[in-house]
Symmetry: C2
Amino acid sequence: MPKISEERKAERREQILTGARRCFAEYGYEGATVVRLERATGLSRGAIFNYFVSKDALFLELAWRDNQRFVRLWLDKGWDAALREVAAEDPDWLGVYLEITRKFRTDPDFRQAHEARTTEELAPPLLERVRSLQESGSLRGDKTPEQLAGFIGLVANGVVVQLAAGDPIRNMDALIELVGSAVRAPARSRTPSRKRV
Amino acid sequence: MPKISEERKAERREQILTGARRCFAEYGYEGATVVRLERATGLSRGAIFNYFVSKDALFLELAWRDNQRFVRLWLDKGWDAALREVAAEDPDWLGVYLEITRKFRTDPDFRQAHEARTTEELAPPLLERVRSLQESGSLRGDKTPEQLAGFIGLVANGVVVQLAAGDPIRNMDALIELVGSAVRAPARSRTPSRKRV
């Protein structure tokens, strides 16, 4: 086998992920067979499984990237921008998450692989941000950072279900306002210079 | 075939629904084969499909009853009691909803069968209740009844995803408080006698 550069390897990885995402969205998790993954990525099964040890691992990398994008957007532009991003996502792709929700509960390896990275890499900066917004008086202080971040995550999951069921969010601004009323500090305790939440 | 009384028919219907619910929860939607449904209900396929035209129809009746129970509890004891009921549900059963979410989007007959009854029977009393609580100053008046009820429904779906993924709601009181802050009228506009929301 010819030696290929690191750059070429990274490209291949992206090529596999992009094709696989499309394939999962179109056929669902079970329906995304190896043959279909080969067709969608333009690569042989040998090449695909050289980069990802299994279909589970391939899917988990895609799920991880979505979580990462959600959290980064939250850190950069606020939870409202992150929620809007979820609401603009392809319903077919969102549906794949729901299809395999059960695996998170019933397959300990699957769950652990997903949770470890999230807990280590994504949760700390997010909770730190929430804590700092509580201290500055933007977010309510009578709930833990975990509860506030968890609530926004729960709302994001509610958005996923609604979209995957074919029911668009009719008024995203209204939803954002409702979530804002839930997590923001009451007006009287807020600092004069209102910060981004 | 011997003639059976209406009472006996109603009993059979319940027997089928009870067994089918257990069967769906245990094996998932696809996994609940006719053979397994026969075993779980203690009845032949002929008997089962004499009461329900298809597996879809059987599942939709169960889903309909859950929605009905959720709305009745909301009307009788408030949205908070209804959310607590969802959070206490069997994760296996909740997972079946997620498994077939896609059908609501992609199968127009399935969707229509579910929506028609909900729109006709459940939505009117619920929206009427929300409207009356807005008028009495318990719920915020700057959002439509559809937006407030829709928000609580979206949170309920978020609870379903979290439970089905094996992650219990750690602090249900905190979640209820957050949702309450979202939907209740600000303190100053509330009437002195605080009503149940």
